[in-house]
């Protein structure tokens, strides 16, 4: 039997399970944003946005959008009771100062030592843009990465060394892909879960760095 890839929503749902009650969390733009809808209602998880929001809530009802109430992805949001507004200085103090428990970022590549590349492919002539990625990479207590295991063309995104420009060094703690969950440890990349019917050898074959099997 062949294995099935997790959908983007399923990766988000899996990642959501590792976010504990009371965590202060920054969900990066794009894929990680999906995690919000899988956070259980009985948990108080505090979502932080770079542009000065803590404890923001789901999108507003149609017609209730406020152009001055947006998240870092420039999507309309709402505020929960107990939420707060603050300026960019305080917002990045939260991030850089180690007050955010978990940030979840997308990735172009993750290296075996936890180096992350997610801000630039280094392509000639491309306009560079970095936003808050480098601050989250160095500042959050734990950095989770959420990504497809390989690129659209089948190239490994988990590699022995980055070939793309680095966002943060030795910063990634855990990787959630459409194939598995990997802990980045001092011993190396430890696979703790795999999708059903996937063999460790097959997983290793689509990975650019040596994996350690801890699924049994």
């Amino acid at each position: 039997m062949s294995h099935t890839l997790l959908t983007r929503d399923q990766i988000a749902e899996r990642a959501a399970q590792d976010i504990p009650d009371g965590a202060y969390v920054n969900l990066g733009i794009g894929l990680p944003t999906k995690i919000a809808k899988y956070l259980p209602a009985d948990k108080d998880v505090f979502l932080h946005s770079e542009n000065g929001l803590l404890a923001f809530g789901p999108p507003p009802a149609k017609g209730e959008e406020d152009p001055e109430l947006i998240n870092a992805g420039k999507e309309y949001v709402t505020m929960l009771d107990g939420g707060s507004f603050f300026h960019h200085g305080d917002s990045f103090a939260m991030m850089r100062g180690g007050h955010i428990d978990i940030c979840v970022l997308g990735a172009f590549q993750v290296a075996a030592n936890g180096d992350l590349a997610n801000w630039s492919t280094g392509a000639e002539g491309a306009i560079p843009a970095v936003g808050g990625a480098m601050d989250l990479a160095v500042g959050a207590k734990k950095v989770f990465v959420m990504t497809n295991h390989t690129t659209k063309t089948g190239e490994p995104k988990i590699v022995s060394e980055l070939t793309y420009p680095v966002t943060g060094k030795n910063c990634v703690d855990r990787i959630f892909t459409d194939l598995c969950v990997i802990d980045v440890t001092v011993k190396g990349l430890v696979v703790t879960e795999m999708v059903e019917n996937l063999s460790f050898n097959d997983l290793q074959a689509v990975t650019g760095a040596t994996l350690i099997d801890a699924t049994k």
Binding site: D66, E68, I70, N71, H87, F92, K169
Partner: protein, 230 residues
């Protein structure tokens, strides 16, 4: 008697000259002082250095200013957006200089200027292309990059309410860079949706004390003010 709200937008902006360094508030369009930017465009000054998180959206506000060719250089963290076509074209044509700064270092360097610090060691960007050639230091087990303050001649910001002493409160996520750039510029000009009497703003709720603001200009609000805030 001090009345920082006694001049019209044209009078206030006329002190901005060619070559000025200007911080502009806003994250995307939230908190962007669109009317002040329009008046700056009308002024026709050239050779500007602009500091903002982004590099303009669509064809309005900051993007419109860029399009006039008035901006020599922009210092920002996230110029590339789905609707940043004005900047994209200028950049590819080599008509604008870009200094890309990680968003937290941008905030922190602006704060350093406002606080009167000479430089700061920040962990953000260490080992990356954006720290290339910069001084670094290992402190207490962690690596840091030395970054210098970013100051400006002018700050243009959007607040919700202001009084004649320049005290300001903001609205929701439009606050973003406003309070910190107000502290880092020689002259801060705030557009507000409402000018209120002295004492109408609770001293506990004032976000930017008037010491950081030189001019207040009232603009008719265009946003939906569903939730009033003081």
């Amino acid at each position: 008697m001090i009345n920082k709200a006694d001049k019209n937008i044209t009078e206030v902006l006329s002190q901005i000259k060619d070559g000025a360094t200007i911080m502009i508030g806003g994250f995307g369009t939230a908190g962007q002082p669109a009317e002040l930017i329009d008046a700056l465009i009308d002024l026709g000054v050239k050779d500007l250095v602009i500091i903002n998180n982004n590099a303009g959206n669509g064809d309005h506000g900051l993007a419109k200013l860029l399009k006039t060719g008035a901006v020599r250089k922009i210092i920002c963290s996230f110029p590339r957006q789905s609707d940043s076509w004005v900047f994209d074209e200028l950049y590819h044509a080599g008509k604008i200089e870009l200094e890309l700064v990680p968003q937290g270092n941008l905030a922190c360097r602006i704060q350093a200027a406002g606080m009167g610090l000479g430089a700061v060691y920040t962990p953000t960007g260490f080992g990356t292309l954006l720290a290339e050639g910069k001084e670094t230091r290992h402190i207490d087990g962690k690596d840091y990059v030395l970054e210098y303050p970013i100051k400006a001649d002018f700050a243009l910001i959007k607040a919700d309410k202001g009084d004649r002493w320049g005290n300001l409160v903001y609205r929701k996520s439009a606050r973003n860079f406003g309070p910190i750039i107000a502290m880092a510029a020689d002259v801060t000009i705030a557009q507000v949706s409402e000018t209120v009497d002295l004492g109408a703003l609770d001293p506990e709720h004032i976000i930017t004390p008037g010491i950081f603001v030189q001019h207040v200009v009232q603009i008719e609000p265009t946003h939906s003010t569903t939730a009033a805030s003081t």
